[in-house]
């Protein structure tokens, strides 16, 4: 290893260069784009959540003023698509399976004309009984949401059967026998509602053909997946599809996956005009096959008096909704979170992902984890109470540490779970005296890092600046906050010297996109490799010019100089200006998943191995208004082991946003379905996001240790973990004030008030009338031997 490898002072955190245009309104988002001659798109959605399509008559709509095209399934290739199961078409054909299923699309001169024509399409249906109650859809004999499921292309490991889209188990040892020997056995039943990513920017797409190729500007988190989806659905070579993402106005997972790009491209092709689609806020709630999954979580834990967890049994049922989307792995991910970052001697967890006629579930920030963690962490507080242990002490005794063996036989090395616990307790002032309507709750969680191929180019410009060309997607992922820092360190330059060309499938190498907290983790590796090539070229040039040995040179503060003789130097700008092409490329080798011993587990989709796991402890200090059930989070502490932090400003920002999102899920955010599966609150008036005024002070601490399998410079992912344990910490704090756990998520004022009223009575856990949930008899309880 060369002692000259690193610059003397590594570049420090820096403020994002695209911040100014975003906050001043100068930034251009997809909806801001206009193409000459463009038409406007509108969709006709399903008129019933579940119905057989008998006939679609577009004649009236086609004849309406301004209408250029009306498309249905008959106008596009008969292709199914989806993630692990290909179960959806662009346009519903035989059946509609949820209220947002697209039946037809219109392109017209104005948005109003397009909407009116969409409404004028005549669709005859045979209405079928909705299958909104996903738990009931497991019962034998229940009519199928997908009658033809067996004929679909799908991953063989999903374990599909009828309405079951996925079944996974995590099995370790003999949980049944161990449960029988436990000193204390606690059982809990928890129900979490669906909720949304709710980005500030409703999605927009503009598609324009030139020759036989199409360019699509889209507010997607995953431009390469969107390109693949368009190519598959329209039967085009990928090379004829270019997806460009202008500034992205948030996604939180909801803009992962391929959604509407092909509909708009098909309209543009049919009309020979550019076509633009801009969603209303209502559509942003209803139409994407992408929201956070509702779940039923049943947990049972056996513990010994000294606080060992000897057995965990769990059964999880997840609402998959009408289609698979990219959420096919949810059963296994949820099963892993039903174990959590704890040493449990024997485990038997079964998770089922079930079709329903609700909006489809797909990844929203740390899919399945916040709900499962919320249930598990409240459950663990009940275990602690039964053992007469402080909740923090039970966790201290049971959290995984160096050498611990996980539920799938993975041996964890160099992880900071217990350090996050200690840090969070210290930051929140755990144990201090509080008024009787205030309390502190804690929760721990975990989340894997995801390895993926990725690539980047770095080119040095003639003026001594540089450009990073990447396929990465910027939505707080580190594309603008971390990549320049990594390249700057390699090249002895300032991060401000780098511009980033990203999120364009025609420009950058393939990238997974803003998903799986993977951008800095994987693209950072690629950028370092590319910058290292440029570094080599600079060293060669400088060695020539200075007539010194290459090995005696270092790159520092924008110059290449001789170590120990700083007078002998040449600036990088001079070298860049001499007319040589200085360009580097790289991808690096993704880290490999750690070995596991999961032979007893079924439904293995890769989640059984947690690469470079991130560990988290959150602590929430809340105040409960006992008379109303309204909860306010007064203060919050978040301690994270995400490995080495590349840019503290960006990483802290992820925690602030993730915690606030988690508080929303804890207290107020839910998509309430009516009994037929229609959303009752598809708007921001009644989908209650937390506001800036609700945000508590959030203390952040990073536990920086070098975990095997970590990404560039020892970093792990950052983006998803911040919302994982938040609802659990808030829930445990509420329970400490009111004396019992709220087993329904979100823990709305009405539910907290009901739970507080029920003091001393056995819980009935009924959901409030106002929330009209068919499935909600959640309970918690214990049996102490």
């Amino acid at each position: 290893m060369s002692r000259h490898a690193a610059p003397t002072v590594p570049p420090g955190p820096f403020i994002r260069p695209d911040g100014r245009e975003k906050v001043t309104g100068l930034g251009r988002y997809a909806a801001d784009l206009t193409a000459t001659g463009q038409l406007h798109a509108a969709f006709r959605y399903a008129d019933h959540p579940h119905a057989r399509i008998l006939e679609i008559d577009t004649a009236v709509a086609r004849a309406m003023p301004g209408v250029h095209a009306v498309l249905t399934h008959a106008d596009v290739p008969d292709v199914r698509y989806g993630g692990l199961a290909q179960d959806r078409r662009l346009f519903a054909k035989e059946k509609v399976r949820w209220e947002g299923d697209v039946v037809a699309a219109v392109a017209a001169r104005t948005p109003e004309q397009a909407r009116q024509a969409a409404a004028a399409i005549e669709v005859r249906y045979e209405v079928l009984e909705p299958r909104s109650d996903y738990v009931a859809n497991l019962l034998p004999g229940t009519p199928l949401v997908h009658e033809d499921w067996a004929s679909y292309e799908a991953d063989a490991n999903l374990g599909r059967h009828g309405n079951v889209l996925g079944r996974s188990t995590v099995v370790k040892g003999d949980a049944d026998s161990a449960m029988a020997t436990a000193d204390v056995v606690i059982r809990g039943r928890y129900v979490a509602e669906a909720c949304q990513g709710a980005p500030i920017e409703p999605r927009a797409i503009l598609a324009e053909w030139a020759g036989d190729g199409v360019t699509i500007w889209s507010s997607t988190q995953v431009p390469f997946a969107a390109r693949s989806g368009v190519a598959r659905a329209l039967e085009l070579p990928e090379s004829r599809v270019r997806v460009v993402v202008p500034l992205l106005g948030g996604g939180f997972g909801s803009k992962c996956d391929f959604h509407f790009e092909a509909h708009v491209a098909a309209l543009a092709r049919a009309t020979r005009r550019p076509v633009k689609l801009v969603f209303s806020r209502r559509e942003e709630f209803i139409a994407p096959d992408h929201r956070r999954e509702g779940m039923l979580i049943e947990l049972e834990t056996g513990a010994t008096r000294d606080g060992r967890l000897v057995a965990r049994r769990a059964r999880l049922v997840l609402d998959g909704g009408a289609y698979c989307g990219e959420g096919g792995f949810f059963a296994q991910m949820a099963a892993m979170h039903a174990c959590g970052p704890y040493v449990i001697e024997n485990v038997s967890v079964e998770a089922l992902l079930v079709y329903s006629t609700n909006q489809p579930s797909s990844s929203i920030r740390a899919p399945t984890a916040p709900q499962t963690c919320w249930a598990l962490e409240q459950h663990l507080d009940e275990v602690a109470a039964a053992l007469a242990l402080d909740p923090a002490e039970l966790r201290r005794r049971t959290l995984i540490e160096n050498g611990s063996v996980g539920p799938t036989g993975q041996v964890y090395e160099a992880i900071g779970a217990k350090q996050t616990l200690d840090a969070a307790l210290e930051m929140i002032g755990y144990g201090k005296e509080l008024p009787d309507d205030e309390a502190i709750g804690i929760a721990c969680g975990w989340w894997p890092s995801f390895a993926s191929p990725s690539g980047a180019y770095v080119k040095l410009n003639g003026d001594g600046t540089a450009t990073i060309v990447t396929g990465a997607l910027e939505s707080g992922t580190g594309a603008v906050m971390a990549l320049p820092l990594l390249a700057a360190e390699v090249l002895g330059m300032r991060p401000e010297d780098f511009s980033v060309r990203a999120q364009d499938t025609e420009t950058g190498p393939w990238d997974l996109g803003s998903t799986g907290s993977q951008t800095t983790f994987n693209n950072g590796r690629a950028v370092i490799a590319a910058a290292t090539e440029v570094r080599g070229q600079l060293l060669d040039l400088a060695a020539d010019q200075l007539e010194v040995d290459r090995a005696d040179l270092e790159l520092v503060d924008g110059v290449v100089r001789v170590v120990g003789a700083p007078g002998t130097q040449v600036t990088i700008a001079e070298l860049a200006g001499i007319g040589k092409v200085l360009i580097g490329k790289g991808s690096g080798r993704p880290p490999e998943s750690p070995p596991v011993d999961a032979s007893a587990c079924v439904g293995r989709l890769g989640m059984e191995s947690f690469l470079a796991p991130q560990l988290i402890t959150h602590a929430a200090h809340v105040k409960v208004d006992r008379d109303t059930g309204v909860v306010r989070v007064l203060r919050f502490a978040a301690a994270h082991d995400s490995g080495r932090i590349i840019n503290r400003i960006g990483a802290d920002g992820q925690v602030y946003g993730g915690v606030l999102m988690g508080i929303g899920q804890a207290l107020s955010e839910a998509t309430w379905f009516d009994p037929t599966g229609r959303q009752r609150n598809p708007g921001l008036l009644d989908y209650k996001l937390q506001t800036a005024s609700d945000a508590p002070p959030i203390d952040v601490r990073w536990i920086e240790i070098d975990t095997p399998g970590a990404g560039p410079k020892g970093s792990k992912g950052v983006g998803e973990p911040p919302s994982v344990p938040t609802p659990g910490a808030v829930g445990n704090a509420i329970a400490r004030v009111i004396g019992r756990h709220v087993a329904l998520l979100p823990m709305t004022p009405e539910r907290v008030w009901e739970a507080a009223q029920a003091d001393g009575r056995p819980p009935d856990g009924r959901p409030p009338d106002g929330h009209g949930q068919a499935d909600g008899d959640a309970t918690t309880g214990q049996a102490v031997r």
Binding site: E112, V624, T628, V630, L684, K688, S693, W753, G770
Partner: protein, 311 residues
């Protein structure tokens, strides 16, 4: 889509446009939002009333009380000295309508004529004895607000009548009577809220005793309404020199329970009827306690909904 738009410069011009079918628009915080959400879109004809001087000022206080132009926004009202001192319940309400942007753009007149049973300013205005001044093609008339509203979203004003101002009579103050008021609503979060349940109270206290009381409830019936039974229960309540006498507390509890009994709550996505009824007791109790404290020298900052959280 709106085909015709006129920015009126006189009340007569605005009323004539309304008689010809135009809908008035000032801040647009209800009209535009609803048009974007619903299928109906914006009305075909609009008349802008934001330039009318008669609508844009707060006059008084004087012997006739205070007159608030219909076009005055919530932010202006909540920081007006006379509102803060003599009509504090209205300040409590104006301070929590929507967001800061809503409060700066949205007008009192728009809030009143929207006739939502969940409007925040309604209950305190009713308790303050407010009159709506309606300017029609032929006459100007005054009507009590609880007579103006007839059903959710409906008022007894005809389509060609323009709300010009709200008149607030002077608070009763004879014979050593100290009148004070408060508005409290249940809020799930700190901003951007709509009333799920709310209550306003005005009390006149002399010699440690409530001599006059008005109670009105929000989002608990098809229109905002007074609760005479609660008002009777409060009249004569002994609250003491500091407003905290336990005998008065019992009467306040009775009044709060009577308010809940008078409620006709609905179940919807925001709350169940059962919860709303239970919360009617809480917000009414808090509104009365706050008004009594303010009448007996206590300082309860505006907005009372924040101040009374968890109390």
């Amino acid at each position: 889509m709106t085909a015709r738009y006129l920015a009126a410069t006189t009340v007569e011009e605005a009323v004539a446009a309304m008689a010809a079918g135009a809908r008035p628009v000032a801040g647009g915080t209800d009209l535009v939002v609803r048009a974007r959400q619903g299928s109906a879109g914006l009305p075909p004809a609009l008349v802008g009333i934001h330039r009318l001087p008669e609508l844009s000022s707060i006059d008084g206080p004087d012997a006739r009380g205070l007159r608030i132009g219909a076009g005055v926004n919530h932010e202006t009202i909540m920081s007006h000295p006379a509102v803060l001192t003599a009509y504090t319940g209205l300040a409590d309400a104006c301070a929590i309508v929507g967001s800061h942007a809503t409060r700066v753009n949205g007008t009192l007149g728009g809030n009143v004529m929207n006739a939502s049973p969940a409007m925040d300013t309604g209950a305190p205005l009713v308790c303050h004895g407010a009159l709506a001044v309606l300017h029609g093609p032929r006459e100007v008339r005054r009507i009590r607000l609880d007579e103006l509203w007839t059903a959710p979203g409906q008022s007894s004003a005809s389509p060609d009548e323009l709300l010009v101002s709200i008149e607030l009579p002077p608070p009763p103050g004879e014979g050593g009577l100290v009148t004070a008021s408060a508005y409290v609503r249940l809020q799930y979060r700190r901003q951007m809220e709509i009333a799920i349940v709310g209550a306003a109270a005005t009390v006149g206290v002399a010699q440690g005793e409530i001599q006059q009381a008005r109670i009105a409830i929000t989002a608990l019936a098809p229109t905002i309404r007074r609760v005479p039974m609660s008002e009777e229960a409060l009249t004569g309540a002994v609250v003491g020199a500091d407003g905290r006498d336990p005998r008065g507390a019992a009467d306040i509890e009775t009044a709060a329970r009577l308010a809940a009994r008078a409620a006709r709550p609905v179940s919807d996505v925001r709350a169940s009827a059962e919860y709303r009824r239970a919360m009617a007791i809480v917000v009414t109790r808090r509104a009365v306690i706050t008004a009594v404290l303010r009448a007996t020298g206590g300082r309860v900052p505006v907005p009372a909904s924040d101040t009374t959280f968890g109390s």
